[in-house]
Amino acid sequence: MIRRELRNLYLHGGTLLATFSFFVFALFCIALTLGPHENILKQSAPALIWILAILSTLFSTPLLLKAEAKEGLLDEILLHPSSPAFYLLSKTIAECILFGLPLIVVGACLSSFFLLPYKDILTLSLTLLIGFPALSSLGILGGLLTIHSQGGGLLIALLILPLTLPLLLFGLAVMEMVRLGLDSSASFCLLTGVALLLVIISITASSWALRFAIEG
């Protein structure tokens, strides 16, 4: 199932590419407008990269879902005997591999815009890696909730952004600890716990949302 999702995602490469360019250009613009002040850049980089990662996931995942809904794939999923949660989970995993990993790598490369030291980049990538499954599954939830609605992208941001805040806060807490040279394992555990909890909740809610979206 994961392999099928991977292939599916690969076929929608255009959307992914657009999202990547959004991510890169937004980072570029921010780094440019903040100016060459090393301290400001260094301090704001983790927050900015996190926020942009959240935004690009929340915008691209629903687009992919809408394309699948148009092709009638979601109806097939409901007809399938296994639980829709499996489908949603494999979708999340596929998205982590094909979308999350490159995003994190790109983000790490672009961190040099912000003059981040090597160790900070590593921690940032690690927190993003932990948080990404939760982001992706929340994006799926947003996409399924708004699939027949008129609002589209902005509405999803309104619905899902408040739910991503704990991830953002704990991720940045880890960064802060590492920068100050303190023990960050507690924050790491919290981040992982929150991420897993969000994955479970949003996958459960998504499988309800999927059923209601298709059955009407």
Binding site: L141, T146, L158, P162, A205, G216
Partner: protein, 237 residues
């Protein structure tokens, strides 16, 4: 479970006498609460008369949480049993809850200016209540963004249920993190750490808010039920 008790027609029947009673109680509680809080309760020895904002702020915060809990419970009922009355009650409760949340935030920041020296701090409790307001907003926006209200309602109900994780965060925020906002002084195991002369107006105001919620909820629910009836009649034509 007695299903006939949850019939919309039964609801309309019992609320006819309940509505004036609730409105009457609301008026009594408001008059008593305002009188005791503004006239008879003593000013705080540290904060002076500024502390009287508490009588508006604290019950509003309680109600913001209570209404969200109610909304989530009704959303659960409407998702699981597809109960029309639960749907109507959920839709009717959401804007009232948003109103209480906004009131709590506004009075809180007005209180914060003279006491903490700032209207807003990024403290855990303030932030989580702001997120509660966003959740109410998201619920309403999602519900309104569908052309078919039943679909919108179902999507919004799922969102409301997911948002329940915010409630324990708000409750725990003053104990788990070191924050500027003071911890609970009423629901402690050792009994409330607040004097009776201040507790009485606080509880009276809480009662007034509760009956306000009940009154407006009944009004809005009856209106919603009648609108639905009209729409069904229209479609039969």
């Amino acid at each position: 479970m007695k299903y006939h008790l949850a019939q919309p027609s039964f609801f309309l029947k019992i609320t006819r006498p309940l509505l004036p009673a609730s409105g009457f109680l609301m008026t009594i509680f408001f008059i008593a609460g305002l009188y005791t809080s503004l006239v008879t309760s003593p000013p705080d020895y540290l904060q002076g008369d500024g502390m009287r904002i508490m009588y508006v702020h604290v019950p509003a915060s309680w109600m913001a949480l209570f209404v969200y809990g109610f909304l989530a419970l009704m959303s659960f009922f409407s998702l699981v049993w597809r109960h029309p009355l639960a749907e109507v009650l959920a839709i009717s409760a959401a804007p009232i809850g948003a109103l209480f949340t906004a009131l709590s935030l506004i009075t809180g920041s007005l209180w914060g200016k003279p006491m903490w020296g700032t209207y807003w701090v990024w403290d855990a409790r303030l932030t989580s209540v702001l997120i509660l307001l966003f959740l109410y907003g998201g619920y309403w926006a999602l519900y309104k963004s569908y052309t078919r209200p039943d679909q919108g309602l179902r999507a919004a109900s799922i969102l409301a249920l997911v948002g329940v994780i915010n409630l324990p965060i708000i409750k725990g925020s003053v104990e788990w993190w070191n924050t500027l906002h003071q911890p609970a002084s009423l629901t402690k195991l050792s009994g409330p750490s607040i004097h009776v002369s201040m507790l009485t107006p606080l509880l009276l105001m809480a009662g007034a808010y509760f009956f306000y919620f009940l009154t407006v909820l009944i009004l809005r629910a009856c209106k919603e039920l009648k609108t639905r009836k009209l729409m069904i009649l229209e479609s039969m034509k």
